[in-house]
Amino acid sequence: MADLRPLSPGRIVWRRFRRNRVALASAALLAAFYALAVLAPFVAPYPPDELDRSRFYHPPQSLHWRDVQGRFHLRPYVRPTEPGSEPLRYREDPRRALPLRFFVHGAPYRVPGLGRLDLHLFGVDPPARVNLLGTDAAGRDELSRLLSGAQVSLTVGLVGIAISFALGLLLGGLSGYMGGWIDALVMRLAELLLSVPGLFLLIALRAVFPAEMPSRQVYLAIVAILGLIGWAGLARVVRGMALALRRTDYVIAAEALGMSRLRIIVRHVLPNTISFVIVAATVSVPAYILGEVFLSFLGVGVQEPAASWGNMLQQARSLRVLTDFPWLLAAPGVALFLTVMSFNFLGDGLRDALDPRQLARGRAR
């Protein structure tokens, strides 16, 4: 028998979201990316800054499942390589196999709360090395760098959004609800920020911090800069919504029953902007990710030897890379492309699911 109880708002949204396959797939992909970023030291076979001077610009090694006799192996293997006759060319040895080992002990890494671990998802018996996505100019494993870079590139968006949206919501809400000189001040400030070209502002603010900083501090600086730039656009929209919400019956009713202004903003005005904010946040994440890429591409972002998708792309900007070592461009490029696309599809899906007009229709039953 069908359950006839009315659905809670959350369930209604989920039902509608579920129907959008592309958005659902994007959400799954992003979840996988973030999981990989969290587990990066474990999934990556090597530390991101470990050099191998015998293997510069090594192309990606392919996994083999069948041996020379054509027999199938459950455990894939790679073929060992050695430098070829020309420099930067490597020759596979078809007679030997390097079976992939799982849960191997390798380079140690730190996990907060667990101390030092040295377990890795996969690897090959040392001293041989496996580079599934090849190596870069310094012989560093591209896969390990990609995973380590994901920790920077994927979180910079979330943390940046958290900062700028906290600012945007509070300032926009205050501005719209209080009106008067607070409104004028906040809005002029927002317009000032919006009238300066974003990239210029980004670089100018970057100049405030010293050029040579430890990578962790650079990361924090980038996040802070992106957050401080990003709140203005949101604050303007939230202000508009607050202006409209301020005259709704339930806000007047809350006022009539003695709720304080701050309480009304926090409890009634902001929660009613939430469906817009969720969508806006989702579609703005790519801007933050690309902001980091942009800064790192200019060489003022995350510094080598630490990895980010931005400085990986920066390394891959020459024509030589495009013709001879395309994996250096493809690895961060594809990862970035998939991430940005997924956020956009996810945002679209959420917008359809949370569309206020559809919700209003649902409520008017």
């Binding site: 009315p6 809670s8 708002p9 709704t248 019956d249 339930y250 007047i252 009713a253 809350a254 006022e255 009539a256 029953l257 003695g258 709720m259 304080s260 309480r263 409890r267 009634h268 929660p271 009613n272 939430i274 649902g362 409520r363 039953r365």
Partner: protein, 339 residues
């Protein structure tokens, strides 16, 4: 007589607009005594709701200009500091609005919204506030209050939503409830239940009610005294009995005459000709004179005098003496020879 709970003295709420100054409320005075129900009656646009909003100082100034005195327990609400005013709202005077559909925040369960009012006024833990909310929902006549408290406004019917609003308004035990057309958006059977419940709560909690309505049927059943508003002014007030049986103002008489009556079934309904005047350009003299069947020359030019009625009420009409004496029919305007 003891000091009234609320004394409104010469309240004027004007809105400055491009078309001129709109005098939505223009010199209204009345009193609400502890424990009574005073009905404020009038057509749409007569200024009832603006009066209510002005009392709680919910009319934004500017664009509005408010003057007059609003004495609640002897203290002028217009002189209170913001924090004192906040405590009076919901704690001393609470308000229920016309539209239960939009007066509740759609994104929170009902119980949370009531509990929030408790926490705005009293030091109460979440758990205590929640218990108070459920208790109040029960008092407001909501069956299965615990479950309803967890539901969202869109899951409730109009009648239930209005009960939630009433519970929300009364949870901090105000001594005056302003109910602005609390039953207008509901169907007739629910209307009766809500009004009955309000009256029961008024008696149980010992509060006064300022009932704003355009529905004389509601007034007859629920109020102790009535004040009739027309075009931003009070034209007559008195006890329900006096107003219904011995109206002294042609407007009141006309309103009563336009009620459908059982004995006159099939007969066309009487109406008061014309419309409520534009509040930006009210007529000179008595504001009702363009529609009044008994208007004299004096009504067109001079403000009507105050005439005390026998039962303690007042009418503002040049001819209330004649109406009282029975020599003028206030509905038709015909003069009758005594005898």
């Amino acid at each position: 007589m003891s000091e009234p709970l609320l004394a409104v003295e010469d309240l004027r709420t004007h809105f400055v607009t491009d078309e001129g100054v709109v005098r939505a409320v223009d010199g209204v005075s009345f009193e609400v005594r502890s424990g009574e129900t005073l009905a404020l009656v009038g057509e749409s646009g007569s200024g009832k709701t603006v009066t209510a909003l002005s009392i709680l100082r919910l009319v934004p100034e500017p664009p509005a200009r408010v003057s007059g005195r609003l004495l609640f327990r002897g203290r002028d609400l217009r002189a209170l500091a913001p924090e004192e005013l906040r405590r009076v709202r919901g704690g001393g005077i609470a308000m229920v609005f016309q539209e239960p559909a939009t007066s509740l925040d759609p994104v929170f369960p009902c119980g949370d919204q009531i509990a929030e009012v408790v926490r705005a006024h009293e030091r109460a833990s979440r758990r205590e506030a929640r218990a108070r909310a459920i208790e109040m929902l029960r008092l407001a006549g909501i069956p299965d209050a615990e479950r309803r408290a967890r539901e969202y406004p869109h899951q409730l019917s109009g009648g239930l939503r209005q009960r939630v609003m009433i519970a929300m308004a009364l949870v901090c035990r105000p001594s005056l409830l302003i109910a602005d057309e609390p039953t207008t958006a509901l169907d007739v059977t629910i209307q009766a239940q809500i009004l009955e419940r309000l009256d029961r709560l008024r008696a149980e909690l010992g509060m006064a009610v300022l009932l704003i309505t355009h529905d004389l049927g509601v007034v007859a059943g629920a109020a102790d005294r009535v004040a009739v508003m027309y075009a931003g002014r009070i034209v007559e007030w008195g006890s329900v009995d006096a107003i219904f049986h011995r109206p002294r103002h042609p407007y009141t008489a006309g309103l009563l005459a336009s009620l459908p009556r059982l004995e006159g079934r099939g007969a066309p309904l009487r109406v008061i000709p014309g419309q409520v005047p534009d509040a930006a350009r009210p007529p000179a003299g008595c504001r009702f004179h363009p529609r009044c069947p008994a208007a004299l020359e004096a009504c067109r030019t001079q403000e009507p005098p105050r005439a005390a009625l026998e039962a303690g009420g007042e009418a503002f009409c040049w001819r209330s003496g004649e109406i009282a004496a029975g020599t003028l029919d206030p509905v038709s305007g015909e003069e009758k020879v005594r005898g």
